[in-house]
Symmetry: D3
Subunit: 163 residues, 6 copies
């Protein structure tokens, strides 16, 4: 099977999408971070204050979505029509005592190429920002399960993944 | 427990490191991506050619390390003295038939603050780049287990994590 | 009244403009900087030379216009069709002996969302650049009255502000 | 009086600071935005929610501080040791019915050149972000009085400005 | 003859392309670097390994193409539909014993303005990257003959240059 | 001979400079662009106006110097203490009727690694900017002979090249 990001001589390239159709495209990506109880308490206690961890991380995630084509070498730069980051903070600890903060990124555009990398990069940057803001408390956090949940528009049509 | 990235009124901020000592600091972060057999074959077959997936991803990872303070809002901008991305490609499939590509990032500096976020961001961008270059083949890839493996220098001394 | 940059759960987001029409959009923003006589003399004397303050500031302003969506978190990245920075240097001192350097930025695009933030950011960066280049002479400069002077295109039609 | 940002032939340049001493440097800059009652209500009502305007603007301001040398052509790139954005939201309307949101930026470094431009750029970007997030409600906002409030370190010693 | 990048008062500006037609546009640029025998041996010996100089340089070139409008002040930011960097490594030494590594960049878009600067910037960054990676070996390398080889689309139609 | 930008397994990396000494480092790079008579007249006629081609190009060049480590993948990010771009515009045409605009970039830092790439990138971006601003007039320009003229500081001491 051919890698579309290389030409026949093996040179890396941005795929030529000139001939593709402009369609409305949507991508939703997910990921999560596991944090300990102290970090969880700081995170949730903090949300009632003026500044809070998840708003900073949401901001970073949305900016990361827009920075995607600067970070991932062969991605096209795309005019995005919508970008959002949402969170699911579960109050119940996992069996090992850790808490799971889930992040979801949704990106839309009208273009010739999809926005799944934008969504995946957005989730990654948002989760890394949570990590940064809690790392003074918990030094054993882990970011897990970053994947494409849903995708629509373009040649491959609707795709939905379950992890 | 206090969140160091907020002041007493709850405003987000970059932590004041003016009074900290300049020490040599090292951070090593890890992560992995799971890919199917077709993607694995394309990846490994491709490495004998002039252009290859892992070199592009390594390049993106090193550039991502340097971009860290632009991406993670409260991170300090730091003069990095060393940055590398290395890979561990396992030829044996997992029980579910997937293959695991592991990535490791090592970053060093002489400064007043650590480089763990640089290392974690480097791994994330490198793995996202692998995702991008294989996504035409495998639409169910998943990025997993991004964490800080080792850290040295600064107040908290040597830290080592096992996942 | 609702803030369009937040969803119903309070998450910050880029507004969804997917359904909006593509129209030609224009925005004009203004601002000014007050400088003392020594700084004014250096600025105006300098304009006959090869390198001059206002050309550097114009260049920075045009580049700032293009960087807008990287700086303002919830702004869309837009393909701009025209960007300019112009200046009005008044030879008459104000009653307090200061001189006023006025800056105007005009930005145009064909898109689904307006360019007022681009114009406002352009003026801000251009004025900050003047500040930077004169700050060795005048340490009491002040940037004032950055506002949207005119806007056209899109749902809200023609808008004109007077300060 | 000479402009330090030009050489004797009139070429723009970054001032040579190689011979300057490394000292601890602090700069504090201020600015404000005037908004109408509807915008003020939306801003203050919103602060009790998870996502809020001033946290997004604080995040943008801190990131803007770090981006300063990319925006202002002749500024040095500096390793910043501390950066913060704080706000003063006044509940009393001005005589014209508008409300004043004041912003203050504090930046520190140990270096050969000051951080006043970083502080001024931080305030500007933070205020522009407030503008962006309220512009759907109030189309007549104005950003005013961006200036250097205080500066310490380096050859010119302690400077304090009053507007 | 008028410089389109200045208005009638001499202010630099991005040319107004609002009224131009959207057409498919292609640009091809070339350039080369001359290196000594030791550097040539290192470059060509290295290409059979996992990481190689030309893949890193290709990656940098493609990313440079996308960064063009951030680097060249009056260039429009454009959604690129295709970008590639290819190489021509000549095994025969020149009469002075040096070897010539030629680089070609091809860029395409559907837009109101051409992509020749994108192609020229891509070649420049790719060649500078080769320089960087070989400079520990050869301290006398030289980059030569960066020019626009071919251009298509837009008002001026097909253009082809020979050097 | 070994390529320092790759480890023993062939992974690209930023060279580890942790153990190197901090010394004052200087690099001077040169390059030129050949333009036809019409372009030359526009360039030189324009220099007496408020906005001029070479000031815009100087500004772009200085900003390009600071952007070097973002563009060239394996370059260290360095705090630069001085950066300048100067020009040599020769009034005499070459035998083929073209005119030569020479550009020189000088960069200094106190650090563990040299600034030759910063100087070379600065010259390249400055010359590309001249190209951009004259390309409506002359479609056959060529950028030539970008090389390191002089270098000082660090292990290899003083180096001087002649082309």
């Amino acid at each position: 099977m051919e890698l579309t990001h290389f030409d026949s001589s093996g040179n890396a390239r941005m795929v030529d999408v000139s001939e593709k159709n402009i369609t409305h495209r949507v991508a939703i990506a997910c990921g999560k971070i596991l944090i300990d109880k102290l970090a969880f308490d700081a995170l949730t206690h903090n949300t009632v204050k003026k500044g809070d961890v998840l708003t900073v991380a949401t901001t970073a995630g949305v900016m990361g979505i827009k920075k995607n084509s600067e970070l991932i070498p062969m991605c096209h730069n795309i005019s995005i029509t919508h970008a959002s980051i949402t969170w699911d903070v579960n109050d119940c600890a996992l069996p090992d005592g850790r808490y799971e903060i889930a992040c979801m990124s949704k990106v839309e555009c009208d273009g010739k190429t999809g926005v799944e990398m934008e969504a995946l990069t957005g989730v990654s940057i948002a989760l890394l920002t949570v990590y940064d803001m809690l790392k003074a408390i918990d030094k054993k956090m882990i970011i897990k399960d970053i994947y494409l949940k849903e995708k629509d528009g373009g040649k491959s049509g609707h795709i939905e993944n379950i992890v």
